[in-house]
């Protein structure tokens, strides 16, 4: 019996020896390999020992700050869920997103601009501290935008058309970054995608809001003037198909300004074919379609607008028949746009045709107080001639004064805008409103989109735009 017992012990000892060999393999030989696996987020934990820089709004109020808890710094959000999709999160378990990810180097004090100060810190045995990041985001306006979206799905983007500064960027439904780690499972599986930044990642059919682009193209190319005459019979038959008006309306004789005021599809379909595919698409490109807007966010968090099929964005020179051109001119067909892109369309008209590079970073200040980086507005594109912009400005004022966008009118402030209502197959609408104000000296450009509504852009989106514009223009200072 002892022989068998002895044999069994030898087997046991061999198994334990195998455990030790395996442990050595994992902990000594392959330790670095495991450390570098993308699935391994432990390296992020090391950065948790660094005091991450504070993120403040344009008014200096704190949006995200780090506080030490049992040896590690944890992110706190004194203003609650303020632009969580844009600001992003910084979680050891789920990684980083948004600004927290894009500016991680600055926030952890690891960029080259900070290395000299870091070196001094190390010499003195101090832990490096991250730099503070000040955003162009104005918390009061951001809150107004989030409030406007409450209980709905959609997004609001507010820009300064003269500089490109992002004043507000709201996406609903939203989430609370403070308990991200506890609610991740629910958030990531929620069919309403609260983690998605609809402002820059949401691709929507722009509908009639897109007519601003078609109008700019028509005026710029000399194919149409604001008082060019058209006759609407309720249908525009082209290439074996037809273009009809929203709600089956028939407008009779109309000029081009009226066509924009009441959003007459047949007229815009005709203008689309007066222009042809090439001119329409090249105007879209001049507005920023087919390009990723240069808002500095991580890869994939800003999507380009343009014509899409199931596989993704189509090439600008993809074939379109005249029916497709007519519907595309009305913002239908395969055209998709992000709220950011549509805000840039409004901003282009507001800024005399020139589109500024959108940005959110006001300044970066090192822990020592040195300003490392300061916002410098730069021109991105020229969408149209200044004269065209002036004509469109007047036309868009009429939309708000007497047309489909009267719900956006404000006491004492002239708003210029354009509504959009995209009908989805399931009976619900996508409601749009893009605008800028005040019309004679634009301070803000805005895009509002509401998903899954029974109302039109003029009913569902225009009043929200008005509320946000009023709040924005009441601010003592905008970027």
């Amino acid at each position: 019996m002892n022989k068998a017992i002895g044999r069994l012990f030898v087997i046991g000892a061999v198994l334990f020896a195998a455990l030790i060999v395996n442990l050595t393999w994992i902990m000594a030989v392959r330790a670095d390999w495991y450390a570098e696996r993308p699935e391994n987020r432990r390296a992020l934990a090391e950065e948790l020992k660094i005091k991450r820089g504070v993120i403040t709004g344009f008014d200096g109020s704190v949006i995200a700050a780090s506080r030490r808890r049992s040896g590690y710094y944890a992110r706190e959000y004194p203003q609650g869920a303020l632009a969580p999709q844009l600001v992003g999160y910084s979680s050891v378990r789920y990684g980083r997103s948004g600004i927290e990810r894009k500016l991680n180097g600055e926030l952890t004090g690891q960029t080259s601009a900070l290395s000299l100060e870091n070196w001094a810190d190390r010499l003195l045995g101090r832990r490096p501290e991250g730099a503070a990041v000040k955003l162009t985001l104005v918390p009061a306006v951001q809150r107004a935008a989030q409030q406007a979206l409450k209980g709905q799905k959609g997004a609001i983007v507010v820009l300064d058309p003269k500089t490109g500064a992002l004043i507000a960027s709201a996406s609903a439904p939203t989430f609370d970054p403070a308990d991200l780690e506890d609610s991740w499972e629910r958030l990531s599986q929620d069919a309403n995608a609260p983690l998605l930044n609809r402002a820059t990642q949401g691709l929507y059919t722009p509908g009639s809001a897109f007519k601003v682009v078609t109008a700019a193209s028509g005026l710029d190319n000399g194919k149409v003037t604001p008082d060019a005459a058209f006759v609407d019979t309720g249908t525009y038959v082209v290439f074996g198909g037809k273009v009809t008006n929203y709600g089956g309306e028939v407008y009779g004789p109309n000029d081009f300004t009226t066509a924009l005021t009441y959003s007459i599809n047949t007229t815009f379909g005709k203008v689309g074919n007066l222009l042809g595919r090439k001119r329409l698409i090249s105007s879209m490109e001049r507005f920023g379609f087919y390009k990723t807007p240069p808002l500095p966010l991580p890869q994939g968090e800003v999507l380009p607008s343009g014509r899409y099929d199931e596989k993704g964005i189509l090439a600008p020179d993809a074939f379109m028949d005249p029916l497709a051109v007519a519907w595309a001119a009305c913002g239908q067909e395969q055209v998709l746009a992000t709220p950011l892109q549509m805000a840039l369309v409004a901003a282009a008209v507001a800024n005399g045709g020139r589109i500024m590079e959108p940005y959110y970073l006001q300044e970066v200040v090192a822990a020592s107080g040195n300003v490392l980086q300061k916002a410098q507005p730069r021109q991105w594109l020229v969408a149209m001639k200044p004269a065209t912009a002036l004509e469109l400005n007047a036309m868009m004022q009429r939309v708000v004064n007497v047309g489909t966008g009267t719900a956006a009118a404000l006491e004492g402030i002239q708003v210029a805008g354009k509504t959009g209502t995209a009908e989805r197959g399931d009976g619900s609408n996508l409601a749009w409103f893009i605008a800028f104000a005040p019309a004679d000296d634009p301070q803000v450009a805005i895009a509002v989109v509401i998903e899954d509504t029974q109302s039109t852009g003029g009913e569902a989106a225009a009043p929200l735009a008005a509320a946000v514009i009023r709040t924005a223009l009441a601010q003592p200072e905008l970027p």
């Binding site: 017992i5 069994l8 455990l19 442990l23 000594a28 432990r42």
Partner: protein, 440 residues
Amino acid sequence: MSRRNLELVFLAVAAVVSTMAYVSVYAGRYHEVNRVSLIYGLVFAGVFVGLHLLLRVVLPQADAFLLPITALLAAIGLAEIFRIRPALALLQGQWLLVGAGLFVLTVLLVRDHMKLDRYRYIMGALGLGLLVLTIVLGTTINGSKLWIRAFGFSIQPSEFAKLAIVIFLAGYLNDKRLLLSVPTRHVLGVPVPATKYFGPLLVMWVLSLAMLVFMKDFGMSLLFMAIFVALMYMATSRIVYVILGGGLFAAAAALSVMIVPHVQDRFNVWLDPWPHASTTGYQLLQSLFTIADGGLLGAGLGRGFLLYSNRQPVVPDLQTDFIFAALANETGLLGAVAVVLLLLLFVWRGFHIAVWAPDGFSKLLAAGLAVAFGLQTFIILGGVTRMIPLTGITLPFMSYGGSSIVANLALVALLLMISHRTYVVRQGTDLQRRRLAERG
């Protein structure tokens, strides 16, 4: 030096190491060292010195290594549990006291393990009953039905059933071993003993199969089957039982991988965890990352990265099944290997006691307990390091879990009794032998 004095010296070393471990964890958490952190070490040492004193009186010639190893493993485990979740450490400390109580009761009431041989069928029925009870009344946690909820506690009866079944098998196989080792007929050219004696093997196979199917727990099922096969082999010295038992179990295992989704997941993750990195493979990969991060020396107890900022552990179930990953992370390869060697030392003492024991029952009992302890250790350590498919099972003395620590302390008591009796029978004075006989 007498065995008890040697034990006391070892215990003193264990007390110093465990106090250091706790102070390190305490300092890592609260950034200070105070009386509370030292008192902990003293109370802990007090419990084990109490057990030591009991042994001095009742089992003076018992093995000198087992109690200090137990104390050291329990202390390190407790420090690590405190590190992960202080509230649980308090509960675990209470369970340790309950275990110490059962240890005292076992030693005082049983005194001589030979008595247990007489109750072998009761033990067998008890073990079987506990398992059936679990299957009928059990609650499913983490996909396995291993727990019974009663009086606000979660009890894991299989930990106790393990002991009862080892006692039963040791008695039964010792009795029938000659019959079992004589083949009476041949099946396909393989000599096979009479069906009558072959029966228990099938019963045991059906039992572990039932555990696999009803409890969905591969680890416990493997443990029971392996204990049985190992005891059959030791009792008969016939390798055919190992091959037969292994084959039958492999067949059952292959079948369960195919039909039980929970087991299938575990198996797939073991083969290749990377595609399942955020789902079923998350736990295993985080365990590997945590272990690999330990490096050679680790950051020190209480200083590794084991908790997220919301106090959730980096590996789910870190304080129970994955306590070894936490330990490896904080004490490095050096600490991890030291603990593996400590566990092996425990197993070695068990086999040592078996080899020296004067009779078949004691030999099979001691070896059976050593196999149960060693295999359980191997299953969980192999699981968290991806040597074998992961199955949830506790690491003896170290994992958080009341049933595990209580049952394993009783296991230590049994091994100590066997070693004491061996000495008395082989080398004791006439007086000692007479006393032993009177008590029996």
